[in-house]
């Protein structure tokens, strides 16, 4: 009996030693400290993508840029503050009706705190819904005139398409000082489409009212082409006859190709100003660099050719999603969607600091957007003029936007202007005409 009692005492002592001793001993310097994992709250971003519409040819780079930026943010920022942002893509087919039908589905299935917008139909479809349901939206392409409204829940980091054209024209005018007459500008637009009708009004207004363009630019109007252009030679002929110097082609690759072929058929070669949808890299796959001499690509984020910025070296090369190619898929679109993702991330950071990482809502993100100040550093070199928003317009306030210009010279894709200031002018009076 007595020996049994002693035995139990020994066992008890052994347990005490085994349990308490390790707790009392301080870890040595070279031993890793096991940290309790931080609680991570996951939030969803609803991503608008055009998988089956007119811009399907660039959707891969579009989604890749966004995915990469949020992967980077989650790993480098979100993990520390206890927030994870996950983007879920929806095919809105670049169609307003489809976008509208998606809204209730997105809200009920993922309860997003932000919408990663495409620009255009989704902006229009969600003008009211974003405000009513308190889910802000940010888009990357230039604003359309009719989306230029105060007190909206829509954000952009680029000003309007007319401003985008002005950046390209500034480059063209400055790079051809030998020209003795104003540069003759023709816009190519889709028949009866609101986007180009606004473009027509804005272009005409700019030529008449902005002193610099009044002196250096002649607005020739819009060459109206069908939604699915086949042969637009006859449409462009009058402009060629009047010796247009440059053609502004906002739209998918299809439009850029149609304009190039028509001009080719008419025996002229003139610069084309391209945009996100028909960016130079995408266009080159059909036309070939040797046929695109002088084509201009203005972009509101750093040029895709500028590869010594952290956005490329630290973010894209390490966090690009599976199935994408580091070189091929870093087109004009990718830096812009990366920047768009970084803005959402920055807003999430501010929202988490304000309401706590577990209480982020669309309202908190909206409020945070007005405290966001993007700089060259926190945009990883993408937005060199920075960006800052106010409630009076969807895009950044004056002085906070600029553009890079790429072009094709001697059959090579080159960065023509690393960064330039984009002129501030308010062409809204043209919208009421």
């Amino acid at each position: 009996m007595k020996s049994g009692y002693v035995y139990y005492i020994w066992v008890l002592l052994l347990v005490v030693v085994l349990v308490i001793f390790p707790c009392c001993v301080k870890p040595q310097g070279n031993q890793p400290v096991v940290e309790q994992p931080k609680k991570i709250t996951e939030y969803y971003i609803a991503g608008m993508a055009d998988y089956t519409g007119p811009f399907a040819s660039v959707v891969k780079q579009w989604t890749a840029g966004a995915d990469a930026s949020l992967n980077w943010w989650n790993e480098n920022v979100g993990k520390d503050i206890g927030v994870k942002l996950t983007i879920k893509w929806y095919d809105f087919r670049y169609d307003m009706a489809t976008a509208t039908a998606l809204w209730p589905e997105m809200l009920s299935s993922i309860n997003p705190i932000f919408v990663f917008g495409w620009g255009g139909p989704d902006n229009l479809a969600y003008t009211e819904s974003t405000k009513e349901d308190k889910v802000p939206l940010i888009s990357m392409p230039s604003t359309y005139g009719f989306a230029w409204k105060p007190d909206t829940w829509l954000f952009q980091y680029a000003p309007t398409a007319v401003h985008e054209m002005s950046a390209a024209l500034d480059y063209l005018i400055e790079s051809t000082p030998e020209s003795e007459r104003p540069v003759k500008v023709c816009m190519v637009g889709v028949e009866n489409n609101p986007i180009w009708i606004e473009g027509e009004k804005g272009g005409a207004w700019m030529a008449e009212n902005v002193p610099y363009y009044k002196e250096n630019m002649e607005w020739m109007g819009v060459a109206w082409i069908p939604r699915v252009p086949v042969d637009i030679t006859d449409v462009l002929r009058p402009f060629v006859d009047k010796d247009a110097d440059v053609y502004d082609v906002m739209g998918p690759v299809l439009y850029g190709v149609a304009v190039h072929r028509a001009l080719d058929g008419l025996g002229v070669h003139k610069p084309i100003i391209v945009t996100v949808g028909d960016n130079l890299l995408s266009l080159s796959q059909t036309l070939g660099w040797e046929n695109m001499e002088g084509y201009i690509e203005p972009t509101f984020a750093a040029s895709p050719l500028e590869k010594d910025i952290p956005a490329y070296t630290e973010l894209w090369t390490k966090y690009h999603p599976a199935g994408t190619d580091i070189e091929e898929d870093w087109t004009m679109i990718t830096p812009r969607t990366v920047a768009q993702g970084l803005i959402i991330g920055r807003a999430a950071e501010i929202a988490a600091a304000t309401v706590g990482p577990e209480n982020i809502t669309g309202q908190a993100m909206y409020d945070a957007m007005f405290k966001v100040e993007m700089t060259k550093d926190n945009s990883l070199g993408l937005l060199k003029s920075g960006a800052k928003w106010s409630k009076d317009r969807p895009f950044p306030i004056d002085g906070y936007y600029g553009a890079a210009i790429d072009t094709v010279k001697d059959g090579k894709y080159i960065e023509a202007v690393p960064w330039m200031e984009v002129r501030s002018f308010d062409w809204r009076p043209a919208l009421s005409q």
Binding site: K60, T63, A101, N192, P194
Partner: protein
């Protein structure tokens, strides 16, 4: 085929749409079920059903023009658009209530449809299809130029309201859309059983025979367009209040083609067919749209385009299979099933 023992003793009974007590019970239960849906259905479902109800009205209209009267109409979305713009313009510029603007939108679309439909008297088939196709381009051209339609920027529409109650929540919009759809379907059932409906069918089956029987082709063909496009206009009016924004970009030719696909799948010349076809194709579209993001996320190497593009593939396949194996559509299949059930255990 009516259940055994059901026969009419009076003309009134023979005319009735609902003939048996069981039919009444099922109909009332169905309507009650529809109206209590918002209690237990989420926002996503309410949104889907609301949009489907709006589409259904336009498809029923197309069924009347194309399925019953045999006049091909490939511009139903254009008439829908005209209804939307007229409704929006009346609401914005004159502050008229929705119960006036929506029917007015229907009338505007009917006038537009009547004008487009006039050539139907002389032409038919593919030629008529091409003429109606022009409606699409006319709308795009006209909508941005008619003063009051908002130009290229479109029109922002105030919320529908009645006695201070605004239809802004998903549930309230659901009730507005579903109630209108129920009324319009009920009217369509009445129409196709009327003298006018029978004239439509006669014209569709044999124009010459119909004319010899004394049917005024000009009158009835125009009426078929007027009514079909009126339905599209009503759908457009609802759409304006549902979207709260009307812009010409919303009304694409693509949708007109799908609406034709819906009546093909559901069954030409049947209101039930319009209902079944719309439900099936809209359901497939929503199913693919909501599952594609999940598939794209879990199988990124396949590529989002494959998953999302699947919608068109599946819908095209469904239409093709129906044309091959069941050209008379789901409504016919439903009638066979119903007859079999009533005759069971006898084969015929």
């Amino acid at each position: 085929m009516l259940p055994c023992g059901t026969y009419a003793e009076e003309y009134r009974q023979d005319k009735a749409i609902v003939r048996t007590r069981l039919q009444w019970i099922l109909l009332i239960s169905f309507i009650v079920l529809i109206f209590i849906f918002p209690v237990f259905l989420g926002r996503q479902w309410l949104g889907w059903i609301s949009i489907m109800s709006i589409i259904l009205i336009a498809v029923v209209g197309l069924q009347i023009t194309t399925g019953y009267a045999g006049q091909i109409n490939m511009g139903q979305t254009a008439f829908w658009g005209m209804g939307s713009f007229a409704t929006a313009a009346l609401a914005v510029h004159f502050g008229l209530p929705f119960w006036l603007t929506i029917p007015a939108g229907g009338i505007a679309a009917a006038i537009f449809g009547g004008i487009i439909g006039l050539p139907a008297v002389r032409i038919k088939g593919f030629y008529l299809a091409l003429v109606t196709l022009a409606a699409q381009f006319i709308l795009t051209f006209v909508a941005v130029r008619i003063p009051g339609f908002g130009g290229a920027g479109g029109l922002k529409v105030p919320a529908a309201n009645i006695a201070g109650f605004e239809f802004t929540t998903p549930a309230s919009k659901y009730y507005l859309c579903v109630t209108t759809a129920v009324i319009m379907i009920f009217l369509a059932y009445g129409l196709v059983r009327s003298r006018t409906g029978r004239a439509f069918v006669a014209i569709r089956d044999n124009e010459n025979a119909a004319e010899i029987m004394g049917i005024n082709l000009l009158q009835y063909k125009t009426i078929s367009f007027l009514i079909g496009t009126f339905y599209a206009g009503i759908a457009g009016g609802l759409w304006a209040y549902y979207m709260r924004y009307v812009i010409v970009d919303q009304f694409t030719l693509f949708n007109s083609i799908w609406y034709l696909g819906m009546i093909l799948v559901g069954g030409m010349g049947s209101i039930l067919g319009a209902l079944l076809g719309t439900t099936l194709l809209f359901g497939i579209d929503r199913l693919v749209t909501s599952t594609a993001p999940i598939l794209a996320q879990n199988f990124p190497w396949i590529g989002g385009q494959v998953w999302f593009g699947g919608t068109y593939l599946i819908m095209g396949l469904v239409i093709m299979l129906f044309l091959v194996f069941e050209p008379r559509g789901l409504a016919h299949r439903w009638n066979i099933l119903k007859t079999q059930y009533r005759l069971w255990p006898f084969p015929y």
